[in-house]
Symmetry: C2
Subunit: 186 residues, 2 copies
DNA sequence: GCTAGATATCTAGCGATGCTAACCTAGGCT
DNA sequence: AGCCTAGGTTAGCATCGCTAGATATCTAGC
């Protein structure tokens, strides 16, 4: 049993290696390039090892990456808001949100666009998601106006995707944030 | 040469058959189920026939389906707006937009989420997209405030996806539309 | 009416994918 | 010593998108 701690740590390390590799490959070559063979190569083992760590296969790996993404996004928006309030807080959270999506497009894609969502509603991923959602709700002042929060989140989400797809004018990003802050800042 | 008209028509008909089959399969079983073999089955031919009609393969088929989607979406929003103005127009366009996405989730997915966008910026798909975009711009009154239009579109797009993913409270849809109309109806 | 060429369609198969069953091979336990 | 389990590999299955080459069918000229 004395060794089980060390073994558990090695297992956890390799789990993280797999996740890091998946994220790195996705960020450079897209999720289509995240194949089991390529991941196995990246960690120096063969494919079945992946399934030992993630029985759910590629789906579970993507899901786990996405989960970490929600935690990071929540932290980023919270940090950006700080003690700001009103329109300035909305602008800060919007800027942080859009920056996050722009900086890690493939991570953001995993969080929202990949067919991972199926089981999201039931399990712990929902907790991380709610946390990120609450970070948005906090800046809107009125504690229980979930509708406004949903609309703000929608706008940020849509804007992130459309910016990423090249369907927003890149030069006018600050204008959009200002527009958003003006319309949602109290 | 006299037959070439009839032949051309038959080719066009089968092209449409393929598109219809792709859309139907996607709508019932998702885009992952839209395989070349299944499409070939659906039209009563074998796989190579698909490539005779769509040299670009599955990608081109999805792209063409998406293109039709843009046209339909633009028509739906325009019809919903009618002669309304201000907040009522925004509410109408928002309702129509969300209805469209909810009624044809896989079509909407093809339009925005599948890796089709790559070549969108350069070719004619952009025209359909601009048309849909302009339908949104029209309801915002100020002719050249593209920033507000971008933000509204972002909100609608994000809301559609999040509703589809089950991340918005379904019962509060009309609240969200009202919220949107209130904030953008100026 | 018959043959030659074009046109339409199919058979068969390639490489790559996600995933898994079966085997091997070390190390600790009795 | 001898077994047993954990950890790893090899090899392979079914399916995917896609394509080359053979085959059938129809058209056109004599």
């Amino acid at each position: 049993m004395a060794e089980s701690g060390a073994r558990a740590r090695r297992v956890a390390e390799r789990r993280q290696q797999i996740l890091d590799a998946a994220r790195a490959v996705a960020e450079t070559d897209g999720w289509a390039a995240v194949t089991s063979r390529r991941l196995a190569d990246a960690i120096g083992y063969t494919q079945p090892v992946l399934y030992a760590h993630f029985p759910g296969g590629k789906t579970e790996i993507m899901r786990t990456v996405a989960l970490a993404g929600f935690t990071e996004l929540a932290a980023a928006t919270r940090a950006a808001v700080g003690r700001k309030t009103g329109a300035r807080a909305v602008a800060a959270v919007a800027g942080a949100y859009l920056d996050f999506a722009a900086a890690h497009p493939s991570l953001y894609e995993a969080m929202f666009q990949l067919p991972i969502d199926a089981r999201f509603a039931q399990d712990d991923a929902e907790a991380e998601l709610r946390s990120a959602f609450n970070a948005l709700a906090a800046v809107l002042g009125d504690g229980d106006d979930e509708t406004a929060t949903e609309v703000l989140w929608s706008a940020l989400h849509g804007m992130s995707l459309l910016e990423c797809a090249g369907r927003m004018r890149p030069a006018h990003r600050t204008d959009r944030v200002a527009e958003l802050a003006g319309r949602f800042g109290d």
